[in-house]
């Protein structure tokens, strides 16, 4: 996202004669996209106005499913959890920026630290989650270490098993998984910046934090925005997988997100209509995020 904007230097712009054969090249991709994604979304919109279940088509209820959903306690929990998970985006950007600023300035074994931070990006969410459920378990390695250090046999954190704590743990897991990629993206942009400008600032006696803030940061804006947007998209796209693998929505439904609520409604309560309404709300949030991105891009004059 972002680069699609831009100049079409390579494009053959013959205004006089439209090259209709272009459609033929796009047709297979368009057909696949339509069948697997666009048609199901249209169906979902349609289902969201009916009291449809897995067994019956139901009847037209207008906005009833939306009203029912938005009034429910699970919905409130889900919205709050989606917001908590979204906090991983600014957290990751902040940690990555400090990390990159330090690394760029020069540090022993810089490559090693960079590689270590990238590691959590490799395993799939499912694989990493299985390892983490054990690692953060009641009697897992982390709590054992806490007990060993404090000398208290009942000490430890109920990472994934306590209402209130579990949502924040998932937020941290999301951040853990994503920080390496953000560091890589920022570093890749950072090394394309002209080092002479930093040297000039150093000669004038500016400290490195100040130089980074004043000179490097403004030039990193577009890549930070990109990292933030894919961060939000991933929080929404993968929140279900994290919740499904780490807590199954528990304890006491406290880690429900919109995606998990949708899954519960559809496959446990067989309430297709209401599940579809939740799906449409998720899509509306994604559309709003996309629009925000487009507004930012247009302000920078880079859209199409």
């Amino acid at each position: 996202m972002g680069a699609y904007a831009g100049r079409n230097q390579g494009l053959e712009l013959r205004k006089d004669k439209p090259q209709w054969s272009g459609w033929l090249w796009v047709a297979p991709a368009l057909a696949l996209l339509a069948f697997v994604q666009l048609v199901p979304i249209a169906q979902t919109l349609y289902y969201s106005f009916f009291s449809r279940t897995s067994y019956s088509a139901g009847e037209y209820v207008g906005l009833g499913n939306y009203r029912l959903t938005m009034g429910s306690a699970d919905f409130k929990t889900a919205i709050i959890n989606n917001l908590i998970f979204s906090l991983s985006v600014p957290l990751v950007v902040l940690v990555s920026l400090v990390f990159v600023a330090i690394l760029y300035q020069g540090l022993h074994l810089a490559r090693l630290w960079e590689a270590m931070v990238f590691l959590p990006y490799l395993p799939a969410i499912a694989s990493a989650s299985v390892a983490l459920v054990y690692f953060l378990g009641e009697n897992g390695p982390v709590n054992s270490a806490i007990r060993a250090v404090t000398g208290n046999d009942t000490a430890g954190i109920h990472w994934l098993t306590q209402v209130g704590t579990a949502s924040w743990t998932i937020m941290l897991v999301l951040s853990w998984k994503r920080v390496g990629l953000t560091v890589l993206l920022l570093l890749a942009r950072m090394v394309t910046l002209d080092p002479a400008q930093f040297e000039a600032a150093a000669l004038e006696g500016a400290s490195w934090p100040r130089t980074f803030r004043r000179i490097a940061l403004p030039q990193l804006t577009s890549i930070i925005q990109f990292a933030a947007i894919i961060g939000f998209v991933e929080v929404f796209a993968y929140a279900f997988s994290y919740v499904f693998m780490l807590t199954k929505g528990g304890p006491q439904q406290s880690t429900y997100t919109l995606e998990f609520l949708m899954y519960q409604l559809e496959f446990s309560r067989q309430n297709v209509g209401q599940a579809s309404a939740v799906a449409m709300l998720i899509l509306a949030i994604m559309a709003a995020l996309g629009a925000a991105r487009a507004v930012v891009a247009r302000r920078e004059g880079e859209l199409f």
Binding site: A3, A29, L32, Q37, V117, A124, V133, Y134, V233
Partner: protein, 295 residues
């Protein structure tokens, strides 16, 4: 926001560039190391624990060990055959390779159409593909499940591969489009003058010049499908068609007692291992693809 062809992404950062500031107060220097090492350790610790546990001897293993000692390969033998990870690995391959190959081929063609032809609706199509990147796959699953049930496609390889392919299309097309858009148009012009049709231009120019981008797209596709939980979870529910991801989800630590944790971690390692060489050797390509798509 330079272009794909003009900008070569440096993958070996020159950290030493800005050493001018290194002399700071000792507290600041220590603080930097503490921050970086702390972040790095937090990132690695769970994976290191997983790795050591996977090789730990189940007989002497205690879940309270931070980093268990002992070394045995027995866990992998049991996990491979008795826990069915051999079948799951094969299933993951059956799903990810065809889906990645088809979606890459189709996306390369679409990117060629979008970047080399000027036709009514082109801008709208580009927008459609780009916007679809942001669709969370989970929201389409309920409707898709209902449709596939009616068609008898649930729990079939065809349905799952078709869905994975369709999910990959927007990102792959977008990635290929951002690359092909910047190919020098003079060569295409010259080919046209020499009488090359669009199929010739596609095969001997566009594809030939885009090889690195095609490799990136394919690589990212394999990683995406391999790691995907949703498609196999919803569309391949039977145990004999479980992939590594749904297999891990079904085994889950909650159902496995403490003495079996080493087996479970061996399973986690099996699920991650095939991607390690791919990502280690393909990291340049992966990074280049991501940076270019991100501007």
């Amino acid at each position: 926001m330079s272009t794909a062809v003009q900008r070569a992404v440096p993958t070996t950062p020159h950290y030493e560039r800005a050493r001018l500031w290194r002399k700071g107060s000792p507290i600041l220097v220590w603080g930097k190391y503490v921050f970086v090492i702390l972040v790095a350790l937090v990132c690695v610790a769970p994976l290191y624990s997983m790795l050591t546990t996977a090789f730990a001897d189940p007989a002497t293993f205690r879940s309270t060990d931070l980093f268990p000692t002992g070394f045995t390969l027995e866990n992998f033998k049991i996990t491979w055959t008795d826990l069915g990870f051999r079948t799951m690995l094969i299933n993951s391959i059956i799903l990810s390779l065809p889906a990645s190959a088809i979606s890459t081929a189709v996306s390369v063609a679409a990117a060629f159409g979008l970047s080399r032809f000027q036709f009514p609706g082109r801008t709208l199509l580009v927008f459609l593909f780009v916007a679809s990147v942001a669709i969370p796959p989970i929201v389409i699953m309920p409707a898709l499940y209902i449709t596939y049930s009616q068609l008898g496609w649930t729990n079939t390889w065809f349905g799952a591969i078709l869905t994975s392919t369709g999910l990959l299309i927007p990102f792959s097309t977008f990635l290929m489009y951002s690359y092909m858009r910047d190919l020098p148009k003079e060569q295409f012009e010259a080919a046209r003058v020499e009488g090359a049709g669009s199929i010739r231009q596609f095969a001997s120019l566009a594809v030939a010049m885009s090889r690195p981008a095609i490799a990136t797209t394919f690589l990212l596709a394999v990683v995406f499908v391999w790691n995907d939980l949703l498609v196999p979870l919803f569309l391949l529910p039977s145990a004999e068609k479980a992939t590594l991801m749904t297999g891990l989800a079904a085994l889950g630590p909650s159902r496995v007692g403490a003495q079996n944790v080493p087996l479970l971690m061996a399973g986690v390692l099996i699920s991650v291992a095939p991607l390690i060489p791919l990502v280690v050797f393909g990291r340049r390509a992966l990074l280049r693809g991501l940076v270019e798509s991100g501007g």
